[in-house]
């Protein structure tokens, strides 16, 4: 039995992980130094969620993928230039801060409202995807709160695999403590899945997909609603880089046997 799903992926942008990040005091909340200048990428775990969504849609004809994203729209447009070439999706853009210092509850509220505003949304076909944590706030909060606001109580986090069974039920593998996976079966949509890495590699760029996506991406960016999210209720006493720098003892020109002995002695202590 094939089901046509409405798959809504929530994903924002984060600074390229290879960039040097430094916190500074903003007018209201903390920010990153030169934040507007930092190159951005799609949040890595949200990226996995998007690629898994596209794969699920491909295997279930009639399904559609929406990407709901809250970010400064100029930066979002830059990221879309690459991302739009990966997999087919329809963008729903919100123009607001993607800072890790904003409150996840405010972000979740804006995203949930945007999801509810998707024309023709049918909750009986709805699968809400996203990364289980972002690379900015790293809290694992936003997706759960979105689920609560949408009334979805079948939620899964740290998902590495989703299989649709012949009867339409969903079999889901979630990461749990100690390097294990928990296997659950859910009777079907609606459900919310916060993805970890999944199993799919990043798709190669496909210019045809890019052309098709960009026809709707640009209008979506132009009509992006402002989403004034902040950190209401949070008082930051300090935000700082870790100062710890170790005095590294460098051992050069020692024989492997000698090093091995030292390591074994250290391990055994």
């Amino acid at each position: 039995m094939s089901t046509a799903y409405q798959i809504v992926v929530c994903g924002s942008i984060v600074p390229d992980p290879l960039q040097t990040l430094e916190p500074v005091s903003g007018p209201a909340d903390p920010a990153l130094k030169n934040e507007a200048m930092l190159p951005s990428v799609l949040d890595p775990w949200a990226g996995h969620a998007l690629f898994e969504a596209a794969n699920l849609a491909k295997n279930n004809p009639g399904s559609k993928v929406y990407l709901v994203s809250l970010a400064p729209k100029a930066k979002l447009q830059q990221v879309m230039m690459t991302l739009a070439q990966k997999v087919p999706f329809e963008l729903v853009a919100l123009d607001g801060s993607a800072s890790g210092f904003t409150d996840a509850f405010e972000t979740a509220g804006a995203l949930a409202d945007a999801i509810l505003g998707i024309p023709g949304l049918d909750k009986s076909k709805l699968l809400v995807f996203g990364g289980w944590e972002s690379a900015s706030r790293c809290a694992g909060v936003t997706m759960q709160v979105i689920g609560e606001k949408l009334g979805i109580v079948d939620q899964f986090q740290g998902v590495d695999e989703l299989k649709v069974n012949a009867d339409g039920s969903l079999e889901i593998l979630e990461r749990i403590d100690g390097g294990k996976h928990q296997i659950s079966t859910c009777s079907g949509a609606p459900a919310l899945l916060g993805w970890a890495t999944g199993n799919l590699p990043e798709p190669k760029n496909n210019p045809q997909v890019g052309m098709a996506n960009m026809r709707v991406v640009m209008p979506a960016l132009q009509k992006a609603k402002p989403a004034p999210v902040g950190a209401g209720g949070i008082a930051f006493a300090s935000v700082a880089l870790p100062k710890q720098l170790r005095e590294t003892r460098i051992v050069k020109d020692a024989a492997p046997e000698e090093i091995a002995r030292e390591i074994v002695e250290w391990i055994s202590k």
Binding site: A104, A139, V141, G194, A237, T248, R249, V251
Partner: protein, 344 residues
């Protein structure tokens, strides 16, 4: 005055995990710092009396519990209902819980139901002038913040390994059971089992004394111009078997599989540490063939004693971040380490 609730769940054997005892210690310390508000313990599980007895001597004013077959397995709908009921029964303003996978996936939703807020990955708790503040990391452990909130209830998920564990007397606790009846709509999901490697093949051991970190260098061409992946695999596997260390890996090494290159067969994304992996806590860490600067090095930020083996004396992964850096061939050194450990 804050009302503090410690929220814990039982393990498969009915006991409380070490992370629960760490959160208990944190809750007690916070209560002390706030001038001693009453501490309530809330327990969720199939059977909870044994767990309550395990911490009977903690001095809590009250033990509350939600129990039954519906609460045996970690499932969002049932766990959220149980936690919500306990928070309401305790009239909690501050809820402290261990950041286990079971609680981490549900307590943000519970905070939303209660119109409260949540802080996850909390590594420190402070009480100053009757105000609570917490320490947590942002941008994948790259910057540390101290913050407080006005919203209540405030749910705080404490990272395992960040606090000392409570030690105290067991006894017989009087538990007040809170009735929670799940509607059928909360039973659409069934937990059917676990998937885990066999005991010998399990390379992730959160309680291990040592984290062994492998980098992509293990799969690169060596001095003879050839790769030696099977040999690397044997050396690493033997080391893990002999020492019972936990295995961490750089993203680049895990990703090689997706790029069709020869890989260490027992490495998965679950082993990945750093930016898009875990940041485990172990007393000691030994990294081998790892390279990269700050963004890559966050994977062992919470490792206390660190040593590294690398051919590059200036590698940012090790210099300034490790206590000792051995400039040597990891193949040769680790083979000798295995010999020595095997002979012990």
């Amino acid at each position: 005055m804050e009302n503090i609730l410690l929220l814990v769940h039982t393990e498969a054997d009915g006991s409380l995990a070490k992370s629960a005892l760490e959160s208990l210690q944190a809750a007690q310390s916070l209560a002390g710092g706030l001038g001693g508000p009453a501490l309530t313990i809330g327990i969720v599980g199939e059977k909870i009396q044994a767990a309550a007895n395990q911490i009977a001597g903690c001095g809590a004013a009250k033990f509350l519990g939600v129990e039954g077959a519906d609460f045996a397995q970690p499932r969002y709908a049932s766990d959220a209902a149980a936690a919500e009921a306990l928070c309401k029964a305790a009239e909690a303003t501050v809820v402290i819980a261990p950041a286990t996978s079971r609680w981490t996936r549900v307590l943000a939703g519970v905070a939303a139901r209660l119109n409260g807020r949540v802080e996850t990955h909390v590594t420190g708790l402070r009480a100053e002038d009757c105000a609570v503040s917490v320490t947590r990391w942002y941008y994948r452990q790259r910057m540390e913040a101290v913050l407080s909130r006005t919203q209540r209830p405030w749910v705080l998920l404490i990272d395992p390994g960040s606090q000392p564990a409570w030690e105290g007397a067991t006894g017989t606790a009087v538990v007040e059971t809170i009735a929670v009846t799940l509607p059928e709509s909360s039973k659409r999901t069934t937990v059917t089992g676990l998937r885990a490697p066999s005991a010998d093949a399990q390379t992730i051991r959160p309680d291990a004394d040592l984290l062994f970190v492998t980098g992509a260098g293990w799969t690169k061409k060596q001095a003879d111009g050839q790769t030696h992946v099977p040999e690397a695999e044997q050396i690493i596997f033997n080391f893990l078997k002999l020492t019972r260390a936990s295995l961490g890996s750089s993203k680049s090494l895990v990703d090689l599989g997706g790029e069709g290159q020869a890989v260490i067969s027992f490495l998965t994304h679950l082993n990945q540490i750093g930016q898009t992996g875990s940041t485990p806590r172990h007393p000691k860490g030994l990294s081998t063939c790892c390279h990269g600067e700050e963004p890559h090095a966050v994977g062992w930020r919470f490792i206390k004693e660190r040593r590294a083996i690398s051919l590059d004396a200036n590698c940012g992964w090790a210099r300034g971040k490790a206590d000792v850096l051995y400039i040597a061939d990891a193949f040769a050194v680790m083979a000798k380490v295995n010999e020595l450990v095997g002979a012990q």
